[in-house]
């Protein structure tokens, strides 16, 4: 009954989406307020029905109704409740349902909080949103229905893939989807602007919070996924340049560019056409990511389904939205009026450079991700494009960008003074050089590259602090005055300082981890001691334990540093009987931002066990930096000017009316 209700709700949501996709459009053509406002109520109703459908699936999973195929395949009655819930999106059908749910919720939010939008803009935005929603409802109903029943219900389910029974996976996909799908709002705004043939600074101000919100979620989602891979896959890697990861990195890069170009548009009314294009590209890359992950064209860490029907369907959706929006862009973009002029050396110029480098870096990732697929289709050769490729393409583009980051905020709008900015960055530059020299002196061996990159990271952080000092006039006025100025600073300024510093922090973490991480692999018996980076790990004993739906082999290590006890670490290996597979639960011990990491291999017959121990210096900085970026985004989102809403343009520009 619940399954049928969920299915029915999904069909109703599709119907509502179709109404929402057409009626407001007609209303906007006829300038009929009533028809345009249909968008609002249908968006709310559509959100409600998507929620009912999702709620139904959650209920089925929680009550372990194995007469539903999706539950039978991905659940088990003994599974802990939390994983019964998270297992809902641990599979293809459920995760697509989560995707449309988030899409519908975003539509509902625009309908709720879009009160200050011009009626026709809101109608168009919601209509475009509904086109996307309708195609994905169709996709779910036709190829991936989660509510299909099994004729002869089995007594027990097949359990969720053990690797996915983890709290990290509970959080990672929803965050990532909030990011992916969040960019649909900026996409819808861009399409609406193209259809209306009108775009102005107010438009950018409406779009920015949505983009920012999506960007924050995506940042957190990528960081979470990376940390999950780090502790769950058992060999200490945190980024694999795997196509699935690239699929989330590309929208992030494009979205970051979009955030910055929307800033130029909001403040200076320039880069309009480019911003529109970026909004379209960002969501296109999100769709591409969904396609890559969901169609099963890849084999990768996360490789998914193998049903070609799904792949073809998503490919059609992809072609329709990307092709359609780019065609619309080509047709209408020239009609948009170009705004504000600026010199190449200026804040705008710096943001253009930022956009240029980010999009080019994004393009190299795209090439590296798609090239193997294209080559295989064309020639049949199978190749793998991995870290070596990205190290020599992505890094050379990203490092100059990082070097430029501190300069941007110090340049004035319209016409900047590069020399002046450089002078103000002298302190930051010296800080970077000093750290570089210290690192160079302290460490021996290793690549020359590492101290340079760490110096760059310090320069980025110090540059962000310089920006803060400049804004508060610290060192030039009395401290209380500077503090008052700091209080009066707009939150978005704080946001950019945090986000930029976060970049530097992440860079330092990445460089330290990749350069000075040490690894020790040994066959150990109880009583054996392993030495790594000054720590000694003693294997005390190896025991067995029964979990709710698995058996677990736990090893106990006592870690000492000289004569001081540092801690007890208990890595384990879980065998899941239902699927006959096992997972490695690494033990982590943080010392400051560094970590000791122990994971277990297969036990040998004679009571000994293969043990992998890593010392990862400053590895946590990678994720602290990401958190700082997300926090910066959050601060920026809370900025007053984004909450009070955009000022309405005094008079709607008459020059650009819709073509009809």
């Amino acid at each position: 009954m619940i399954a049928e209700a969920g299915h029915y709700a999904l069909v109703l949501a599709l119907g509502l989406a179709l109404i929402q996709a057409t009626v407001p459009f007609i209303g906007a053509r006829l300038r009929d307020q009533g028809l345009m406002n249909v968008a609002r109520s249908t968006a709310m109703a559509q959100m409600l029905f998507a929620m009912i459908a999702f709620g139904a699936l959650v209920t089925l999973h929680v009550t372990s109704d194995f007469s539903v195929a999706n539950v039978y395949e991905n659940s088990h009655s003994l599974k802990p409740l939390i994983y019964k819930i998270t297992g809902v999106w641990g599979n293809h059908e459920g995760s697509m349902l989560l995707w449309v749910l988030i899409l519908a919720v975003f539509g509902g939010l625009v309908a709720t909080f879009g009160g200050n939008l011009p009626t026709s803009l809101r109608a168009h935005v919601l209509a475009v949103q509904a086109w996307v929603a309708a195609s994905f409802y169709l996709f779910i109903l036709i190829t991936s229905n989660p509510f299909i029943r099994i004729a002869n219900p089995p007594i027990e389910g097949r359990d969720l893939n053990p690797v996915l029974q983890d709290i990290g996976l509970a959080v990672h996909p929803p965050l990532l989807y909030l990011g992916y799908v969040g960019f649909s709002i900026s996409f819808s705004f861009a399409i609406a602007a193209l259809v209306e043939g009108r775009i102005d600074a107010a438009w950018a101000r409406w779009v920015r919070p949505w983009t920012l919100m999506a960007w924050i979620f995506l940042t957190l989602g990528i960081a979470m996924g990376s940390y999950w891979a780090y502790y769950e896959l058992g060999w200490g890697g945190w980024w694999f340049w795997d196509p699935v990861e690239n699929a989330s990195l590309m929208p992030w890069l494009a979205g970051t560019a979009l955030l910055h170009s929307a800033l130029v548009m909001e403040k200076r009314d320039a880069l309009k056409v480019w911003t529109l294009l970026l909004a379209i590209l960002t969501f296109s890359l999100s769709l591409l990511g969904t396609f890559l992950v969901r169609s099963g064209v890849l084999t990768s860490v996360h490789a998914f389904a193998t049903d070609p029907r799904r792949g073809v369907f998503i490919l059609l959706i992809l072609c329709f939205f990307i092709g359609g929006s780019l065609a619309l862009f080509a047709w209408r973009a020239s009609a948009l009026k170009q705004g504000g002029l600026f010199a190449p050396i200026s804040r705008e110029g710096a943001l253009v450079l930022n956009n240029l480098l980010l999009t080019t870096a994004c393009a190299t990732v795209l090439v590296g991700t798609l090239y193997p697929l294209i080559l295989e289709v064309l020639t049949g050769d199978k190749i793998s494009v991995g870290a070596p490729f990205f190290n020599v393409t992505f890094a050379p583009l990203f490092l100059p960008l990082l070097f430029a980051v501190p300069f941007g905020p110090l340049l004035a709008w319209k016409r900047g003074d590069l020399l002046g900015a450089a002078q103000r960055l002298i302190a930051a530059g010296i800080a970077g050089l000093v750290v570089m020299a210290v690192v160079l002196a302290w460490t021996h061996g290793g690549a020359m590259f590492a101290p340079l990159a760490i110096g760059l990271g310090v320069f980025v952080i110090a540059g962000a602090l310089t920006d803060l000092a400049e804004r508060t006039a610290l060192f030039r006025v009395a401290v209380p005055t500077a503090l008052r100025r700091a209080q009066g600073m707009p939150r978005s300024a704080w946001g950019s300082i945090f986000a930029h510093a976060g970049l530097g922090i992440t860079l330092i973490g990445i460089v330290c981890e990749t350069t000075w991480s040490s690894e020790h692999i040994a066959v150990m018996k109880p009583g054996d001691v392993a030495q790594i980076s000054g720590y000694s790990a003693t294997l005390d004993d190896v025991g067995q334990r029964q979990g709710p739906n698995y058996r677990e082999m736990i090893a106990r290590f006592t870690v000492t540093n000289g004569s001081d006890l540092v801690g007890i670490m208990t890595p384990s290996k879980r065998s899941f009987t239902t699927r006959g597979s096992s997972t490695t639960e690494a033990a982590l011990l943080a010392r400051g931002a560094s970590q000791l990491y122990i994971s277990l291999g297969e036990p040998n017959g004679d009571g000994s066990i293969v043990v992998r121990i890593y010392h990862k210096p400053l590895v946590l900085l990678i994720w602290y930096g990401a958190l700082a970026m997300a926090f910066g985004g959050l601060l920026s989102l809370s900025d007053r000017r984004l909450r009070v809403g955009a000022p309405k343009p005094a008079r709607a520009p008459r020059s650009l009316q819709p073509a009809e």
């Binding site: 195929a69 395949e73 641990g90 599979n91 293809h92 097949r158 893939n161 996915l164 896959l233 058992g234 060999w235 890697g237 084999t299 990768s300 860490v301 996360h302 490789a303 998914f304 389904a305 193998t306 049903d307 002029l341 600026f342 010199a343 190449p344 253009v352 450079l353 240029l356 480098l357 080019t360 870096a361 393009a363 190299t364 590296g368 090239y371 193997p372 050769d381 199978k382 190749i383 793998s384 494009v385 991995g386 070596p388 490729f389 190290n391 020599v392 393409t393 050379p396 583009l397 690894e519 692999i521 066959v523 699927r579 597979s581 096992s582 490695t584 291999g601 297969e602 293969v610 992998r612």
Partner: protein, 172 residues
């Protein structure tokens, strides 16, 4: 600067960055990609010693020999040809005799494939996609694998999150 000059500066800068990126990508595509090969392809193509590639196939049952300090040797076969592989380090959880494996490394002078990475990349059918495709092409596709997969598809159970665990060489 005039408007035209500004525009030219911008466009020039953009073209410069794009050119650099294109050069980097082309260069990397020549040097940094790794081809996938089965033992048959490896012997037919006479891949030069020292050239890195990925070798995929089945671990020949009974061929795994473990030595000291986590050294291990095994044969990778695709039914037609067999290539001996030497590796030192921790093998992934799912490395098993008679099952699919992908290793990365290069052939040395004596004709042994020195792997520095072993990937056991598979879903519940225990077969990496590249290996399955290659074996199908070679005509050595095991029926039971095919049956398992199509059976799974019929019941709609094709959804599985494949897991890959890569073991990196201890020497790195």
């Amino acid at each position: 600067m005039t408007r035209k000059q500004r525009r030219l500066t911008m466009i020039g800068g953009a073209i410069a960055v794009l050119a650099v990126a294109a050069a980097l990508v082309l260069n990397a595509l020549r040097d940094s990609i790794v081809f996938f090969s089965t033992p048959t392809m490896a012997t037919e193509k006479h891949i030069a010693p020292g050239r890195r590639f990925r070798l995929g196939g089945m671990v020949r049952p009974g061929s795994v020999v473990r030595g000291d300090r986590l050294a291990v040797t095994f044969d990778v076969t695709d039914g037609n040809a067999t290539l001996p592989v030497a590796y030192q380090g921790m093998l992934p959880d799912l490395f098993r005799e008679g099952q699919g494996v992908v290793t990365e490394g290069a052939i040395d002078q004596s004709g042994v494939f020195r792997a520095d990475t072993v990937l056991a990349k598979h879903d519940e059918t225990y077969m990496p996609k590249e290996v399955a495709d290659a074996l199908k092409k070679e005509g050595h596709w095991k029926d039971d694998y095919g049956a398992k997969e199509s059976g799974a598809r019929e019941s709609g159970a094709s959804e599985s999150v494949a897991r890959s665990v890569a073991a990196q060489g201890a020497g790195r």
